[in-house]
Point group: C2
Chain length 297, copies 2
């Protein structure tokens, strides 16, 4: 906190979509976070919409302009766009500024940001584990991060006060902040988030093929199981394309593990091994109970 009681004098949010728009709305609703919130988007339509919605104090036409004089910068763009945006904003960032992000992969983010990071700017990667099936400037809301985890992956030797500021930002948003190294983060989220999305996208296509092939209205009878899968399958295209491409190794490893396990269960079904099947179902129930006890469900 500075003497005026603001965490950041000028907080710049690059990408005012679901995540960026929610951070901006939260910062303006919360007295202590930012004196001024500036944002920018890559299309004139999005910039105009943010001006209409009024959730930022100002809207810059370019990222170069947006970061000028900002003591806090948050990248809220698809992770595949980091290198390009960093090459543009790096030369314009203020010395002493804190740079953070909201990307779902962390190894690729470190790889793409560091080459463009100016001396004296402190980079603290972060990943708020929150989202909805909606995207764009209209999708955000100030309470999106409340009660959700935010994983920070600061690199060794990072300025401690910069790390503390990013932690304070997410705590102000109502998140529970955890710290781990980027590689562990990427493995954990590959399992709990990226693989489930890959499965959801896939099963929608498999069902659609069957519906076309048999001329049966398979989708008409989507039971509750399938409906849950389609909710996450409605996620943003560019974001998820970039997540898959930038967490490739961990995602492919988790898919391989899942495929082995699904084949083991299929084999038990084929040979009528009731005990094995029951054991797998019980395990799912146990994990569900664990999540409920942790109040994550």
């Amino acid at each position: 906190m500075n003497t005026q009681g603001f965490l950041f004098e000028r907080l710049c949010i690059i990408g005012p979509g679901l995540i960026g728009g929610s951070i901006a709305r939260m910062a303006r609703a919360h007295g202590g976070v930012a004196r001024h919130v500036v944002t920018t988007a890559n299309t004139e339509a999005s910039r105009a919409r943010v001006r209409e919605l009024g959730f930022a104090d100002s809207v810059a036409d370019t990222p170069e302009e947006a970061v000028q004089g900002a003591d806090g910068v948050v990248l809220c763009i698809p992770v595949g766009a980091y290198a390009g945006v960093m090459s543009r904003i790096g030369p314009h960032m203020a010395p002493g500024a804190v740079l953070t992000d909201a990307g779902s992969t962390k190894g690729s983010v470190v790889r793409d940001v560091l080459p463009h990071l100016p001396a004296g700017v402190h980079f603290v990667p972060a990943h708020p584990m929150a989202g909805t099936e909606f995207s764009g400037p209209d999708a955000g809301f100030p309470s999106l991060f409340e009660g959700r985890y935010c994983i920070m992956t600061p690199l060794p030797g990072t300025d401690a006060s910069a790390v503390a500021k990013v932690r304070a930002l997410w705590e102000a948003a109502g998140s529970m902040v955890e710290t781990m190294d980027p590689a562990t983060h990427d493995k954990v989220v590959a399992m709990v988030s990226h693989l489930p999305h890959l499965i959801a996208f896939t099963i929608c296509g498999t069902a659609d093929d069957l519906a076309e092939e048999t001329r049966e209205a398979v989708l008409k009878f989507a039971a509750s199981g399938f409906r849950d899968f389609t909710r996450i399958a409605a996620s943003d295209v560019a974001m998820w394309r970039d997540v898959f491409l930038n967490n490739r190794e961990a995602l492919l490893e988790m898919l391989a593990r899942f495929t082995e396990d699904s084949h083991a269960l299929a084999r038990a079904v084929r040979y009528g091994q009731a005990d094995f099947i029951e054991d797998r179902i019980r395990r799912g129930r146990k994990i569900r109970r664990g999540l409920i006890e942790r109040k994550q469900a």
Copy 2:
């Protein structure tokens, strides 16, 4: 409808769990469905609990006793238990009675019921596509079936008035009734319900193994994708074991299709084929939109 305006004089529900208990509650809440609702359960604890909850007019100690004098009988038990229960109740069923069920597989149900079906009893298989993650006598509620599909799979030559009665039962429950043959039913539900459950049970185990192996709190960070999967993974053990074992061929076929498709997407991730990945994500979104338009989501 008989002259007193009841669809059934004495409606017998075998298995007063989530589904059976909901049918009983619906029948008693709905003036025209049944003059008397009798039920039975396979444990004294469940029978005592149904008496306490009071959602049936009477509770019989055995299925043989329960079906006596009933003009309508609904099997609401795991599909693996049908043959055993039918061998017990067949000799005690009233001539002219209508027998139906709520099982999630239909080919196996026809296979297991027909050998025990007495002459003069009309069997009309049905599958209400509704459920929650809870089970047992306390889990049911009268509106469970409202606005949900119920698929009937009557065999050729079945008494038309028996078919009409079962349709009227589900329409009274608020369901949209569709008719198809058992084999088509089994294929459709393998895709939209059984495969998603197999996947959900599996991924919970895969995550649990990873958590143990890496000593990382993978489950702690279960993001929204994973949470949706665990909701269906909390389903009833005996019911799902029996579903898998009794819809084996269709389930294994759908898993094989899904596995091919997931490997195609994995290959695109490995080789950085952004267009392929985007196409798959867009397809998921399209299907989600289709479900929303159908008001299923």
